[in-house]
Symmetry: D2
Subunit: 121 residues, 4 copies
């Protein structure tokens, strides 16, 4: 499986199958999954606590760290996809809709090169 | 875009394009993106703080809430995909590899119907 | 040190001293400390992911778990106090002020026994 | 109330009283409170997502932002103290014990001026 040839539906199904085989769907309420995503993001952040933004880019290239960082990101996305599975959310549709909404909040003309929240632009 | 016909690569590119058009890649170091994912997960959790697991499933069907929950999930996944873009991580490969690793930690025979951590099975 | 006889100032100083002795204040910018708090909350949540609210109360009494849970909570509060140290925030004042503000948002007459957000009461 | 003259017990009681008056202890299981702390940390982090560590220090002095940052920190510590209330944890004791343990992991001689995790020192 690589990003070029894998659909969201296929990746969601791989995640669902893992849970289903273990009879874990009983634990996968949205509340619990939202906590699980948060716990995994905590592990991802742990790599970056005390380094600068630039150093965090370098760290992702470090051969000792890269594997772990990939695993934390995989965990975050897997739990997010399982959330989508359990709540029957179409991820690609939700993201397209959010991009349209964000584009209205952050028009290129106002937001270009600026990191302020839209309420402060 | 729907999950059936959208590849990870396409969704990553939609996310990258939004950032690129706004010249935001300068802000998107892994450290910063990991925080952004965490902040968005905080917003998702906020819907579920005081309800039970079962009630959180029902809440996701509530027509007033569903749209917001979809948006929070979209934000989490978008920042996660942008993390993958910036760190050049192939998401589908990372997830496949993690599923193999998790399957070894949680063999069906031991983990079926149980929520303990693998160290406690 | 016990809660009955320890002031916030004393606990903040114990935390500051630990960092100062190790010359760690250079790492303790508010941004980094906010991430550190989040990473520690992730570890606390990990104990409660798949259990119900009631089971989480029982878990805190479990002798194998209790020590760990106390440590995670200690980490969260220490980093929060160090945030207060670095940003020169008086914690007791900030909390008193917030309680006054929350009391206006959540008057007893409206909020009693209800978990809705004030915008939905 | 200021940090110089307020004990942990007093601040814990102020927090407990607010919840008790609203009959909110029924919602305050450790699981739910751990999520609430995480959601509040998310709001704190939101202020710092796209700025450098140095800029985050400056931001805490900004008169428009400072009040909000104090409120987010107050929320985090209040929910943490309420967690301690509900789980009957003595915060000052837990922190003293954790400081002793951390001092063993991070002896001044090895850790001075270094931000690595103890496993990497």
């Amino acid at each position: 499986m690589t990003d070029d040839i894998t659909t969201l539906a296929q990746l969601k199904e791989a995640t669902a199958k893992f849970a289903r085989e273990r009879d874990w769907e009983q634990f996968h309420a949205p509340k619990n999954l939202s906590m699980a995503i948060a716990a995994e993001v905590g592990e991802l952040m742990e790599h970056f606590l005390w380094v600068s933004a630039d150093e965090s880019s370098t760290l992702c290239l470090n051969k000792d760290k890269r594997g772990k960082i990939e695993e934390e990101l995989a965990d975050i996305i897997m739990f997010s996809l399982q959330f989508a599975n359990m709540a029957k959310i179409d991820v690609a549709s939700a993201i397209s809709a959010k991009i349209v909404k964000n584009a209205a909040k952050y028009p290129v003309s106002k937001a270009k090169g600026r990191s302020e929240k839209y309420t402060e632009l």
